[in-house]
């Protein structure tokens, strides 16, 4: 019987992860990173790799911990709780799942490097305001035995720290066609590729990637030419589920801070948490988080058991998470009053990360539409 209840191993993993991020990556660390002008701490990422986090989805034969998607989601959720910054989603989740699905020798080597924490990946898909990979216009022109990539990816997560980039480009058809796209795995230092680090509201690593006739060989192609979206499916779905889990953690973190404040702040000679108007809203938020937690657990389970049929589960998770975290951060700021608006206080960081995460790999509207379609609407 599958259950959404956590197994003993999962409870242990969660406790360990929660303890680790509380100790090594509290929100104060994000503040520190921001001050230092860096998006994450490479030392922290190395420690995560040593604990097997970077190899959470890498097969044991490649040197990974092979813990599965539910485990990856638990890690992402706990990182979300303290806004721990790392290239986990791009590298350990999206790139690892994509490479695993490709299953070539070269992919196997890359997976080993991911598990060892030796390589950081970024995923360069979107070119417009919204997640819409089929709209990709970037050209991969055939040149001799290889390709030449030209175009712009305006906002790539982990784009400036990445050693390698998974990039989707058009080898046939026109923007809007789901076929005719090819996925490349290229070295970020390759000639013709420029990267501009962007100053995003969540203080995390984002960069604009400009490809100017960047050379790619046939070996750089992941999976089939012209069939890049299918090649990416496993990686994207894993990423969507893990981001949903991170957002659940962000919601939980914001909720925790807020309820803590309700118990502490006094006005009118009582704690503000004694006002029923606030009690009911906090209780409602808690209910939303509980319901979302089920959708997140389910997505992990389905990805582990029947990954070929996971779209409904994954989209349900991302849609719920985007809505829930939005409520959590809005209520969080509001229930803090003036102090919630200050940069010195942490709740604003949650609001900013929530906004960025809600967009990545599809927002609420995108995923709600997929849920509706999967349910026959």
């Amino acid at each position: 019987m599958t259950t959404l209840m956590e197994t003993e191993d999962e409870v242990m993993l969660r406790d360990a992860a929660r303890g680790f991020v509380a100790e090594s990556a509290p929100v104060a660390k994000l503040r520190e990173n921001r001050k230092a002008g860096r998006a994450f701490d490479p030392g922290l990422w190395r420690e995560m790799a040593q604990m097997g986090w970077s190899g959470v989805l890498v097969p044991e034969v490649c040197g990974g911990a092979e813990m599965g998607h539910r485990a990856a989601c638990i890690l992402a959720e706990e990182m979300g709780r303290t806004l721990a910054a790392s290239p986990f989603l791009s590298t350990a989740v999206v790139a690892a799942s994509t490479l695993r699905a490709v299953a070539t020798d070269r992919a196997g080597t890359a997976l080993g490097q991911i598990a060892a924490g030796d390589v950081i990946y970024a995923l360069a898909l979107d070119e417009g305001r919204k997640y819409a990979p089929e709209s990709t216009a970037m050209q991969a022109e055939r040149a001799g035995n290889g390709f030449r990539l030209t175009g712009v990816k305006p906002l790539v997560a982990d784009g400036s720290a990445a050693d390698r980039v998974l990039v989707l480009a058009r080898t046939a058809g026109a923007p809007g066609d789901a076929v005719g796209l090819t996925l490349f795995d290229i070295d970020a230092a390759r000639a013709g590729l420029t990267r501009d680090r962007l100053d995003t509201i969540d203080s995390r690593d984002h960069a604009r990637l400009i490809f100017d006739a960047v050379e790619a060989t046939g070996d750089d192609v992941l999976g089939e030419v012209d069939n890049g979206l299918a090649v990416l499916r496993a990686g994207v779905q894993a990423g969507q589920a893990a981001m949903a889990a991170e957002l659940l953690g962000v919601a939980g973190g914001a909720y925790g801070m807020t309820v803590g404040y309700l118990k502490e702040r006094r006005q009118f000679d009582r704690t503000i948490g004694s006002f029923q108007a606030l009690q009911h809203r906090a209780a409602h938020l808690w209910a939303e988080i509980e319901v979302t937690a089920s959708a997140i657990a389910n997505a992990g389970r389905v990805l582990d058991k029947t990954p070929q049929d996971a779209q409904l589960a994954v989209s349900l998770a991302k849609a719920r998470a985007a809505q829930t975290v939005d409520l959590a951060v809005r209520e969080g700021v509001q229930m803090h009053g003036g102090i919630g608006m200050t940069d010195d206080y942490d709740i604003g960081f949650y609001m900013k990360r929530a906004r960025v995460g809600a967009e990545w790999l599809g927002d609420y509207g995108y995923h709600a539409a997929l849920v509706a379609a999967a349910r026959g609407f």
Partner: protein
């Protein structure tokens, strides 16, 4: 002279002619961010010479304070004329020549509660943008429970001696004067021991420390008072009756915040903004939300006007004005959520393809906190308008 259709038509023609001549074309129809607001004050620097030209012209005609009496630098317009003026300003896409806490808050309070000397001294410099005011209400222990202010003013015979601390004082570091709530009687019940005091920010003993907002800017401050000597003539109204003035001023502040004084993204409407984002309205969630925002905004704008007309006709709306603050700010936050959602990944940088959209969105989160939170507004409505019992 009573307004008639004929006099109002003539006024409309004249005032629109005046705006067209007085407000430089370079200021009109432009996206005006927060950086383009003209606040005035001793430290003021105009971003552009055209702003000074426009302000000077407006001062000359009393149009920085259209409804104030001419003797204090206003234009003495009637309610109907002022409405026409605002309509013409909107039609010609002219920015307000001057905005300030003096115009929005202190001025109306002084007109109602100040003595002749206070009005003559403080109102004209407000209309001319010479003195910039800040609001010293909130304290660390007195936010929603505003009547709990502890900053105290002791009567020293020929002056008051002020000690204490304010917090969240918007623009205190840029202001010339502060209007503050101070405790003048520590024995009396909370509401009955408060006075309304004006202080020159250059007085010895006043210091400010800016606090950064989540939007990255630092418009508000902690303000400290350490043995500040304040002349007795700076107390407005009766001593220990400051709470009435405080509340009166708050209704003006709340209407201003609720009205969201500035349009979206410096004057662009929701439709204009969304129309500029190719395909944004194809997403059914965005479309439904945009339609809801538009429906609500239009009906809300009508409600603002209806309430103002009622107030003018002497049928005070009283505590119902808390509804304007609540509704307007919640609506404004929702509109910015919609814009952020529609702009998607283009709005995730501090300064991206849509300029300062992200910081503006973050700033709107304060709308339902500053000037009294949404919860406090609903509380006022429940208790004072719906007359529901206390718990």
């Amino acid at each position: 002279m009573a307004d008639t259709d004929a006099t109002l038509d003539a006024f409309r023609a004249e005032i629109s002619q005046w705006i067209e001549t007085a407000c430089p074309a370079s200021l009109r129809g432009r996206a005006m961010g927060e950086d383009m607001i003209v606040w005035g004050g001793r430290q003021w620097q105009f971003a552009e010479p055209a702003q000074k030209e426009w302000l000077d012209a407006a001062i000359e005609r009393g149009m920085t304070a259209p409804r104030w009496p001419t003797e204090y630098g206003g234009a003495g317009l009637s309610r109907a004329q002022e409405k026409i003026y605002r309509e013409e300003m909107a039609r010609l896409q002219a920015p307000p020549p001057l905005e300030s806490f003096g115009l929005w808050m202190l001025g109306p309070a002084l007109l109602a509660f100040g003595d002749d000397a206070q009005k003559a001294r403080h109102l004209p410099p407000i209309t001319r943008g010479e003195i910039r005011w800040c609001q010293g209400y909130s304290e660390p222990g007195a936010g929603s429970d505003l009547a709990n202010v502890q900053t105290r003013a002791e009567d020293m015979g020929d002056h008051y001696l002020v000690n204490g601390q304010k917090i969240w004082t918007s623009y205190a570091d840029k202001a010339d004067w502060i209007f503050a709530l101070v405790r003048t009687d520590r024995e009396a019940p909370k509401h009955k021991g408060i006075s309304f005091l004006l202080m020159d920010m250059e007085s010895a003993g006043i210091t400010t420390r800016p606090i950064r907002l989540i939007s990255g800017k630092s418009p508000f401050c902690e303000t400290f008072f350490d043995n500040v000597k304040v002349p007795k003539e700076n107390l407005v109204g009766e001593r220990n009756r400051g709470w009435d003035i405080a509340k009166y001023l708050l209704t003006h502040e709340r209407e201003m915040i609720g009205g969201g004084a500035r349009g979206l993204l410096g004057g662009r409407s929701l439709g204009q903004f969304l129309g500029g984002l190719d395909g944004a309205m194809d997403d059914p969630v965005t479309r439904a939300e945009a339609m809801a925002c538009e429906v609500n905004s239009l009906a809300f704008a009508m409600t603002m006007e209806r309430y103002k007309d009622q107030a003018e006709a002497g049928q005070g709306v009283g505590n119902a004005s808390a509804m304007l603050k609540y509704y307007g700010t919640e609506l404004n936050k929702r509109r910015y959520e919609l814009l952020m959602n529609a702009a998607g990944s283009e709005a995730l940088e501090w300064d991206g393809p849509h300029g300062g959209l992200a910081p503006e969105w973050l700033r709107t989160k304060a709308n339902s906190i500053e000037g009294g939170t949404s919860e406090v507004m609903l509380d006022i409505l429940a208790k004072r308008v719906l007359e529901l019992p206390n718990s």
